[in-house]
Symmetry: C2
Subunit: 272 residues, 2 copies
């Protein structure tokens, strides 16, 4: 058997078994991605590994429901969607979504009136999975139920990576003269100093105030604590909250939410 | 050159050019689906046709931003996403998303206290792309900018298909004894009778009241008109709005939105 002349130099060098693999493997991959295989999206590149397209579709539905605040009060990622969420967070789409939201924030920042001279134009930013990422922690726990002690151990290390797109927004707001308030449900007494250091090490410096959960709000829903803090800023201290950015709807609803709110994606956990 | 014995009967029969195609085509398909090719998602089956995966990813980001109310005030679907939105609406994922939201509504309905004997427990449902679908109209217009005259012509025909999942919810609410108010920004004077007939023909019967835009609200944002109507229901007529379902955030924000709101997916158009 002869190879066509223009293929000969390459193909003739290939051992037969490798050649056979080259012929068969792509066909197999295509069959598998047509849904012939089982579900293993924990490790597949998008569309090219055994998976159930319908299950991916349901997990996408669930994720969109979370972002639209239709799904509330969930304690863990649905079991069939753990692989999907891992893929979403680590293989590009989360970053793409984050960039999209940051583009919306930037367009809004460019369009609103700049801060007045009285120094009372404020933005409120959440910390966990807004400024600092807990992806490593939650991925290691396979997005299991909230575990306060384990989370405290993780946060105490002060090793949460900053989220670059949010850091850029933070710097823009600060440099434009907005007062940036970082508002976090983390416990002030036990996590105050490590959080301050973590923020500093990741480049979040020059904010107006870090507001963390004081003992009187322990055990209260995040929405209650955060509403109270924003109310204090707006009604007692006279700040105008021009924008508010968080990964949880509990950051963005309630009292004095601000002129406009931006929801950063987070399919990893739900905070009431 | 010899084929391995176990391949010989099949492979030896193949003409060389066909064999070459068999070797190369799958590799080419894989390269194309990895984003090397152009974008043609208007007609591709998911993941299996030349397309730009990155562009699909950006359109997905945009759609999620719409659902999360991060993208506001847009006049048309972004041009590179027209094919993506068509595919989303017509090839299964929209239906899957809708079913997901309806499951959330059902779980909520099952969990809340049933209507009291005073007949004042109400639900508010939007009409366009909540109860009745305008997909045929918007798809034919390739999701172009809002065209009031053309839309009026379409709506006048009274031919909008009912959305089955929402019809089931409607029937459940009505049969449980909730008063269902259908609240629509459609103009009452010109579209009142065709809307009533369209609803009836699609099975939406037994609602408490159809509330459409009266002349005094012409030209006002939907959010203003709908807030005023809900305020009237809640504060003047004493209804308790237990739930509120719409495809636009302007259905679900403002005054007296109800105990809980549900956002039905709609990446086709934005109503302020």
């Amino acid at each position: 058997m002869q190879w066509p002349r223009y293929m000969a130099p390459t193909m003739a060098l290939l051992p037969q078994r490798l050649l056979l693999t080259l012929v068969l493997l792509p066909h197999l991959l295509i069959l598998l991605s047509l849904g012939v295989g089982g579900s293993a999206y924990g490790t597949k590149p998008p569309c090219f590994w055994p998976s159930s397209a319908a299950e991916d579709g349901r997990c996408l539905s669930w994720r969109v429901m979370v972002e639209a605040n239709n799904a509330r009060g969930w304690r863990t990622v649905p079991a069939p969607c753990v692989g999907y969420v891992t893929g979403y967070m680590t293989r590009g789409q989360y970053g793409r979504d984050l960039d999209g939201v940051m583009d919306q924030v930037s367009a809004y920042v460019d369009q609103i009136t700049p801060p007045a001279d009285d120094g009372l134009d404020a933005w409120v930013l959440d910390i966990d999975d807004t400024c600092l990422s807990n992806l490593f922690y939650y991925e290691a726990k396979r997005f299991g139920a909230y575990d306060p002690l384990a989370f405290k151990t993780w946060a105490s290390q002060g090793a949460c990576p900053g989220i670059p797109a949010v850091l850029r927004l933070f710097a823009t707001l600060r440099d434009k003269g907005f007062k940036v308030f970082l508002l976090s449900g983390r416990d002030e007494e036990t996590l105050g100093s490590c959080t301050t250091e973590n923020l500093e090490s990741q480049g979040f410096s020059g904010y107006e105030r870090l507001m963390m959960r004081t003992p009187e709000y322990r055990g209260q829903p995040s929405s209650v604590f955060k509403s109270a803090m924003r109310k204090q800023l707006a009604e007692e201290e006279g700040y105008r909250i021009r924008g508010n950015v968080g990964d949880q709807w509990s950051d963005l609803q309630g009292e004095n939410v601000g002129d406009r709110v931006f929801k950063i994606p987070n399919p990893m956990y739900f905070v009431p």
